[in-house]
């Protein structure tokens, strides 16, 4: 799989992730649009063109997993990995989450064993410590009544959870994280829509012994959305 990371202007953005606060000065198009709003992000991902591009990439990725009657059928995990890397490619590596997915995909085949062992241990320990501390804080503050400081803590905690959900966004300052989230949510919606369309179309193609049956199944999937 060929990986080309970043367009022209954002190619330098991959170098230092720590200067997220001062990104505005760099003229990175994504961040400048963050003020302009989530609407632009949503429009970009909802346009038919993105979905078409994604569909083709998805097919390529699925073919690469060896699907198609000849070899063994692809595992659901492999399908998901194909879908995610196709999504990241469609994003053209212009966002942090897409770059994180591409890098993870490239590295995982080599380092899978190590990552699994290390990652699992850490994942079990940390959330417990954090959750306990957060619960203690919440209990103490609840007695005192909700203050602006409690609200801020809640927000910070939720931001941290959010950072764990979006790939490659664990330690980002809030504005950058929120911008990545907006893009990621819109991309995920498109991914779901495209995968569902493909699954419905495949199912319809299999059912159809006659053209009318295929059309009927196709109409049903249209009505869902």
């Amino acid at each position: 799989m060929m990986i080309s990371i970043g367009g022209g202007s954002s190619s330098s953005a991959g170098a230092s992730s720590s200067s997220g606060v001062r990104v505005k000065g760099r003229g990175k198009p994504g961040v400048a649009a963050a003020g302009a709003g989530a609407g632009a992000v949503r429009t970009k991902w909802r346009s038919g063109t993105q979905e078409k591009i994604y569909g083709r990439r998805l097919l390529d990725a699925l073919r690469a997993t060896g699907a198609g009657g000849g070899g063994a059928p692809p595992q659901p995990r492999a399908v998901k990995a194909a879908a995610d890397s196709a999504l990241a490619l469609t994003a053209r590596g212009q966002s942090r989450w897409s770059r994180a997915i591409l890098l993870a995909g490239a590295a995982s085949s080599r380092r899978r064993v190590l990552v699994k062992a290390g990652g699992k241990i850490r994942r079990h320990r940390r959330p417990q410590a954090r959750a306990a501390a957060a619960a203690a804080k919440a209990a103490a503050a609840a007695a005192a009544g909700e203050t602006p400081m409690l609200k801020e803590r809640k927000v910070k905690e939720r931001l941290r959870v959010l950072g764990r959900l979006v790939p490659g966004c664990r330690k980002l300052p809030a504005p950058v994280l929120l911008e990545e989230t907006a893009d990621y949510v819109a991309a995920l919606e498109m991914q779901v829509k495209a995968m569902r369309a493909l699954a419905d179309a495949l199912a319809a193609a299999q059912l159809s012994s006659s053209p009318q049956q295929a059309e009927a199944a196709g109409d049903e999937s249209q009505m869902e959305r």
Binding site: A67, P76, A174, T181, L202, A203, G218
Partner: protein
């Protein structure tokens, strides 16, 4: 690299105001399906973030389910019909 990160975090908390954050969060709210249904003017930031986390988890789960479904479908069909299927679905 870690020192740079901690410095940006310190200066970050003074430069990024709460107002900025709640402004961005309200824009995030527009992306949530619930916001469209309720036409709610303001949800508290923590609530929006909570909803966003739940929404992302839901979407992840949908992708997993669809991956299962596609895995089963691909086991019983061949790639050429999958290509025809996608072209049809994209043009529809």
């Amino acid at each position: 690299m870690s020192s740079r990160r901690s410095r940006s975090r310190q200066s970050g908390s003074s430069r990024i105001t709460d107002e900025q954050i709640s402004d961005l969060v309200s824009k995030l709210q527009d992306l949530l399906p619930e916001a469209r249904l309720r036409s709610n003017d303001r949800m508290p930031s923590s609530r929006v973030l909570q909803e966003t986390c739940d929404y992302i988890r839901n979407l992840h789960r949908e992708v997993d389910d669809l991956s299962e479904r596609l895995s089963e479908l691909l086991a019983t069909s061949d790639m050429s019909s999958a290509q025809a299927a996608i072209i049809r679905s994209l043009l529809m």
